[in-house]
């Protein structure tokens, strides 16, 4: 199946050319000195490391062109370590290349396939062993063994059950309820509708009992962005328009794609952009996805004001916030 050439004669290989260190004692001496210098540089590096560790204090900074201000201790330890290692290695390699033999030698390969006798003997051994165990004959043992092994696999999985609680409704719910006040984040102050000028963006969290001790798992689903537009800018259906208040529209800040914080708001285009995967949401059209991998708009929070004029949620989110999951019912 191939037009294999007859291997050429080895005699066409050029004779092994000696290096200058092989024939010239001066060159040999020089190589020896070079190796010694390399070992010496390595030693210097180690000393630099020790000196920087022991004698240079942490607060000394030195200016180095291009790199700017550098912490002298870290830099000294680092450069010292680099020198000590690098030159040690270079010395060994230079030694091997100049002074150790460079004559190539040949090993022979063995074929990996075992000899036929060995293979036959192997088959025989296995067969004898299997026959001695009698697994083929003893159906009862074979079946019960299978069942036992099958059951044996379950406990290790079961033992991992207590790694965490069951999801229950945690992904579907947030701390937003009807009447929950919107508090600034950071600051935890309630907001008057008049606090927001047109074009303003504010991040808010729901009022809860212990506002300073919100667990991170709440901060992973509660953040809401308030954006104030001119009322005529909205292109919403009446239902969604009713969820805004005085030009203020509220969206979950947690991306409907993979849950990153949708933090970039561009005032001119009124687009919200998620920095993770560039899903782009059009605010006037109810955070409709206009670009990127997100498949759903950001959930909109229904807001209004309470008797004192502070912004509150009129209802909880009507759909789960954040990334999709199997149990999410999107109907």
């Amino acid at each position: 199946m191939s037009n294999e050439l007859v291997p050429m004669d080895d005699s066409i290989a050029p004779a092994h050319a000696p290096r200058s260190t092989d024939i010239n004692p001066k060159a040999e001496k020089r190589a020896e000195q070079q190796i010694a210098i390399l070992f010496g540089l390595s030693g210097l590096g180690s000393l630099l490391l020790i000196y920087s560790y022991v004698f240079v204090t942490k607060d000394v900074f030195i200016f180095i062109p291009v790199m700017g201000n550098q912490n002298a201790q870290q830099l000294g330890i680092g450069i010292g370590m680099a020198m000590s290692l690098f030159f040690l290695g270079m010395a060994a390699i230079h030694w091997a290349k100049t002074l150790m033999s460079d004559v190539e030698v040949v090993n022979h390969r063995h074929e990996f396939r075992s000899s036929d006798e060995d293979r036959d003997a192997f088959v025989k051994t296995v067969k004898t062993g299997a026959a001695a165990a009698g697994l083929g004959r003893r159906k009862l043992i074979k079946r019960s063994l299978g069942a036992a092994i099958g059951l044996f696999a379950l406990p290790p999985v079961l033992l991992l059950r207590d790694l965490g609680p069951l999801p229950k409704k945690q992904l579907e719910t947030t701390n937003w309820k009807a009447g929950t006040r919107l508090l600034t984040d950071p600051g935890n102050r309630p907001i008057l509708a008049s606090d927001l000028e047109v074009g303003a963006v504010v991040q808010v969290l729901p009022a809860v009992e212990h506002e300073d001790e919100r667990p991170l798992s709440d901060i992973a689903k509660d953040p809401v962005l308030l954006i104030r537009l001119r009322e005529q800018d909205f292109q919403l259906n009446p239902e969604k328009l009713a969820m805004t208040h005085d030009g203020i529209i509220a969206f979950s800040k947690i991306c409907s794609h993979m849950g990153c914080a949708v933090a970039l708001y561009e005032q001119q285009t009124k687009h919200l952009l998620c920095p993770c995967h560039q899903s782009t949401f059009d605010v006037p059209r109810g955070a409709k996805v206009i670009f990127g991998p997100a498949a759903r708009p950001l959930p909109q929070l229904d807001i209004t004001v309470d008797a004192e004029g502070y912004l509150i949620a009129r209802a909880a989110f009507s759909e789960p916030v954040g990334p999709s999951f199997w149990e999410r019912n999107s109907q």
């Binding site: 560790y53 290692l85 991170l216 992973a220 920095p275």
Partner: protein, 528 residues
């Protein structure tokens, strides 16, 4: 006998009387390793792994893998008084209060990046030279396993400091887990110990990152290297090198000195990088809170292509029967990488099926002599590069003042269009190079000297190439396409018609080459 020799002799005698190892050690010390620069790539992988073990152990002495809240009271002024996890606070302490701590963190991070880069470079070397062929398929698969493990280990590693950037990475990880149909939500709650970010993930991935995965790494690397040892290294073709021998330097002393020295060189270079080049300055990002994010969030480079695939995915979700399936996550984050890695692992068997070649191979191929394989490799690289470019689309857009939407559309189209183009161009380049080899062999190399002949014609003088080079240019095989007929010897149609057709087509494509110089042609030239 000198006193030193006497002592060594005594120790060796003591050991050998108990282990009987003299024969084996002697054989091992005479082991021959062929020399080629590209054989160092695997060494870089192994050495950076050792560096990772050393620097990682150093970091564990101070790192506190806990998500318990603490108030930072260390020396870094901008973060003083802030609530953060103990993991983040202890990473700050390692960076600012442990002498050499920042250096070690940077060594660990640089070594991880170089480890992954070296694995990829090593993989490409093995692929393009055909070193994965029989009998080395096991080692190829182990290599793919190491690459995959490296991705996971790297992700866990840079997630441990619990800073704003790594927390964002974990948020994405949790979303990928959640996207798994049926079991996703449960697995996510179990792994994180509750709703994201939970309190369990960092301590758990810490155990995996410093114990379980390095343990698996160590075991697999050991087998990987032992197989190289046992099967002996492949070698490039050349005079005196055959499928039956291995030509190179013996372990003692040349290879040992070179390879041992090279470990220190790799370590030295990584230490130098870590001394002068900042990597992952977590104090600038701040502690993780899910409500915030920094613009330009980027994973480490080896995860960048996966992130790029996720970014370019179309907004596809299926909502049916009260359930949601996120194709925009499943396809780019799990299905496509699954196909890529499975395909890579199986490639040696696929190629052997195409060529029908079941022999052992110890001589490496020059990439040009196997155009189909080389083209497939470049095609895959192109695919990953387009994905990687899209993974950095925000950075590219801001640095080069481009539109992020245009980069995204370029990638969405390019991921389908560019790899096949790369395949065709590479294959043609390979064939051109084969043609150039043929010319070189037949006409010698150009000298640049012009001669004017008596009748006025100008010719360029060509010099014959050395016998060594001539051998190299014609020592390779040119396998013919498999002949698979649709009917058997009795004229009956063979089963598996489609399979046969596919195999015949692929085999034909694989065997395309420029015919090399035959012996007859060579003889004719000699008579000139």
């Amino acid at each position: 006998m000198t006193p030193v020799e006497k002592t060594i002799g005594k120790v060796a005698n003591f050991a050998d009387e108990r282990l009987g190892a003299a024969g084996w050690v002697k054989k091992s010390l005479n082991k021959v390793f062929p020399d080629h620069w590209s054989f160092m790539l695997g060494e870089v992988c192994m050495y950076s792994f050792v560096i990772l073990l050393l620097s990682g152990t150093f970091l564990t002495f101070w790192f506190d893998p806990s998500q318990r809240d603490v108030i930072y009271n260390g020396v870094y002024e901008p973060l003083k008084g802030l609530k953060m996890s103990a993991a983040y606070a202890s990473t700050l302490d390692i960076s600012f209060e442990v002498r050499g701590g920042l250096l070690m963190r940077q060594i660990h991070h640089w070594a991880a990046n170089i480890f992954m880069a070296a694995i990829v470079a090593h993989l490409l070397r093995v692929f393009f030279t055909g070193a994965f062929r029989k009998p080395r398929e096991f080692n190829w698969i182990l290599g793919i396993l190491l690459l995959t493990l490296g991705l996971v280990e790297g992700l866990f590693g840079y997630s441990l400091p619990d800073d704003l950037l790594s927390g964002t990475g974990l948020r994405i990880t949790s979303a990928i887990i959640q996207a798994l149909p049926v079991v996703g939500t449960y697995i996510s709650f179990f792994l994180f110990g509750g709703a994201f970010p939970g309190t369990g993930f960092i301590p758990r991935i810490f155990t995996l990152h410093i114990l379980i995965i390095p343990g698996i790494f160590l075991a697999v690397i050991t087998i990987h290297v032992m197989l190289v040892w046992y099967q002996k290294h492949t070698q490039f073709p050349g005079v005196g090198r055959t499928e039956k021998n291995v030509v190179g330097h013996p372990i003692l002393p040349v290879y040992m000195a070179k390879a041992g020295g090279f470990f220190f060189v790799v370590f030295g270079v990584i230490a130098f990088l870590s001394a002068v080049a900042s990597i992952n300055p977590i104090w600038l990002y701040g502690p993780y809170t899910p409500g915030q994010i920094s613009a330009g969030s980027q994973p480490d480079w080896y995860m960048g292509w996966l992130d790029g695939l996720v970014r370019m995915a179309p907004p596809l979700e299926t909502h049916a029967f009260g359930h949601t399936v996120s194709w925009n996550i499943l396809i780019p984050a799990l299905i496509v990488p699954g196909i890529v890695f499975t395909g890579m692992a199986l490639y040696p068997f696929i190629e052997s099926w195409i060529t029908g070649d079941k022999r052992e191979h110890h001589l490496l191929d020059r990439p040009r002599n196997v155009p189909n394989r080389t083209a497939l490799g470049v095609m895959s690289i192109t695919f990953v590069m387009v994905a990687l470019i899209n993974g950095g689309n925000d950075i590219l857009a801001t640095n080069f003042h481009l539109s992020i939407n245009q980069i995204m559309w370029f990638s969405r189209i390019g991921i389908f269009v560019l790899p096949p183009i790369a395949f065709v161009i590479t294959k043609r380049l390979c064939l051109s190079l084969q043609r150039a080899d043929r010319d070189l062999l037949l006409h010698g190399s150009e000298t640049g000297r012009l001669l004017r002949l008596p009748h006025g014609e100008f010719v360029e003088v060509h010099e014959p190439i050395s016998a060594e080079k001539a051998f190299l240019l014609q020592s390779h095989e040119q396998p013919l396409a498999l002949e698979i007929s649709e009917v058997d010897s009795r004229g009956v149609r063979r089963p598996g018609a489609l399979k046969n057709k596919v195999q015949r087509r692929l085999s034909k494509a694989h065997a395309v080459s420029v015919p090399k110089v035959s012996e007859q042609e060579l003889k004719e030239i000699e008579h000139h």
